[in-house]
């Protein structure tokens, strides 16, 4: 079993003319890699009608519905995060409740509000109540503001995680740019923060540091928007990890933090 905890798809509401092609490419590559489940989100309209990292409630409603429809088309391959914007609390909570009732398995927070902001508390509380992990977009060691997003770093995510010790949080794409070593030092003592290995970064030494700082029991395999780098990291892990640890990273850790019914055959 192999679970990609950080996948994305596109809906018809996208600025990309090739959205369907990209979705098909992910599924095709997933078959070749051996991905059992793509745990995915759709980030609103990806900028078509509202910014990718500040999606409007209307775009999120559409995106979450589109993802549920995609799951219905591929019930054996796709699982879904409910993507929400915490600036719109009532909408976010309603989306999470509706999504959970419809079988969505997690909550996705991008970069609409900093992770340690009190506005994230009701979202995290509801995720905990429903037994859903929260995947949070992270800029590894953000040193300044970046345009187009209100990016959080590991320090801010860990503040939120400390306020919600019974909720599992996923620190997004440790290979997604930025200083991953900074993040690993931060999350090391925070047991309810898991590290997803996705991102285009394939730095030599990064996986060794993930293992030494966080440990195989808190690492989750993922790809984000570069399946090739995800597969490369998996191939390297096959060389450096004993089989039981590799199984944890491939899927067992994911099976532990997502709802019990999320993955068949686990």
């Amino acid at each position: 079993m192999l679970v990609d905890v950080h996948a994305h798809f596109y809906s018809d509401r996208s600025p990309r003319a090739d959205a369907a092609q990209r979705n098909a490419s992910r599924l095709k590559a997933g078959e070749r890699i051996g991905i059992s489940y793509h745990v995915a989100s759709i980030l609103g309209s990806w900028g078509l009608r509202s910014p990718t990292y500040f999606p409007s409630p209307d775009d999120l409603t559409h995106a979450n519905a589109a993802l549920r429809a995609l799951i219905k088309q591929h019930p054996d391959r796709i699982r879904g995060y409910v993507a929400v914007n915490p600036n719109f609390t009532a909408h976010a909570l309603a989306q999470i409740r509706a999504g959970s009732a419809a079988g969505m398995v997690g909550v996705k927070l991008a970069a609409s509000r900093r992770a340690n902001d009190p506005l994230l508390d009701p979202v995290a509380s509801l995720a905990g109540e429903l037994g859903l992990p929260v995947l949070h977009h992270i800029w590894q060691n953000r040193r300044h503001e970046w345009p187009g997003q209100e990016a959080s770093d590991a320090v801010e995510l860990c503040e939120l995680a400390a306020r919600h010790p019974r909720v599992n949080f996923i620190l997004a794409h440790i290979g997604g740019g930025g200083d991953w070593l900074h993040s690993l030092h931060v999350v090391r003592p925070v047991p309810n923060v898991y590290v997803d290995l996705s991102g285009s970064g394939v730095d030599g030494g990064m996986l060794e540091l993930c293992l030494s700082q966080v440990g195989a029991d808190r690492l989750l395999w993922g790809a984000d928007i570069t399946l090739c780098t995800g597969w490369a990291k998996l191939r390297y892990l096959e060389h450096i990890l004993p089989a039981p640890d590799l199984e944890q990273v491939r899927w067992r850790n994911a099976a532990r933090i997502f709802p019990p019914t999320a993955f068949q055959g686990d």
Partner: protein
């Protein structure tokens, strides 16, 4: 497989495992790479990067699977001598990293070097970057190699052949489509930074630009060498085209019989 883009020695900006010759050979064995074109990584950042060349030649002499890619710094008075030595040693390429050396990447000294490499028949290797710009050390401020410099250099001399590493789709396309077919036929690109699915940049570039222009490069040990190989495994390439990418183009570029 031939990896045209590998390094030996430590990196000044962070700790990297596997930088010794033994470490690189282990990575090559793990991934099925038979031959690696290696540069001396620390020397790239020295005031005189050519001071690492003797060590590099010595190391490559002792390990047949390594082919040395020495540094040339055209802003130093010894650059012609270093180039002559490199040619005498039948290196597959020489490298220059102008932005790291503080040189104008398309300035007079770079144009002189490009022309001399063309006359000598040795490819000129240049890296667009070494690391993702978002993660670089706060004091690691050398600009990335701009596409404008690549096209200026290839236009500057009718015989220069260039091997550009660590380029992404945007750089490749900007350079390729800004050149005449004859000019672009003198540039080769490694695939270490060109994304696979679902964005499928590599598939697109192989379709639009063609397999003749691309070579296998990993950037190891700064980057996992599994990456470009995984990219190839995610393509539906006929075996003959894959062989061209894995070693055929590199052999042609370096003058080895295909």
């Amino acid at each position: 497989m031939i990896d045209v883009n590998a390094f030996l020695g430590g990196y000044p900006w962070r700790r990297v495992p596997g930088t010794s010759a033994a470490g690189l050979l282990a990575a090559m064995d793990r991934t099925g790479i038979i031959e690696a074109w290696v540069s001396h990584l620390p020397a790239i950042f020295w005031r005189d990067p050519t001071e690492g060349n003797e060590w590099l030649y010595d190391t490559a002499t002792r390990e047949v699977r390594f082919r040395p890619v020495p540094c040339i710094q055209p802003g130093l008075a010894n650059w012609e001598r270093e180039l002559t030595t490199a040619v005498d040693r039948r290196v597959p390429a020489v490298r220059v990293d102008p932005t790291v050396h503080g040189l104008d990447p398309a300035g007079q000294s770079m144009r002189r070097l490009a022309a001399a490499c063309g006359e000598a028949g040795v490819p000129l290797m240049m890296a667009v970057r070494f690391e993702d710009g978002r993660q670089r050390h706060p004091n690691d401020r050398a600009p990335e190699l701009p596409a404008a410099a690549v096209r200026a250099l290839v236009r500057s001399s009718p015989r220069v052949r260039m091997l550009v590493t660590h380029a992404d789709r945007g750089v490749v396309e900007e350079v390729h489509w800004s050149l005449t077919p004859e000019e672009s036929s003198r540039i080769w690109w490694d695939i270490c930074w060109i994304w696979g699915p679902p964005e499928d940049h590599l598939e697109l570039l192989l379709d639009t630009i063609g397999v003749a222009r691309f070579v296998l490069g990993t950037g190891m040990p700064l980057r996992l060498p599994e990456t470009p190989i995984a990219r190839l495994d995610l393509l539906d390439l006929p075996p003959a085209e894959r062989a061209i990418l894995e070693h055929g183009n590199a052999e042609s570029l370096s003058g080895k019989p295909v």
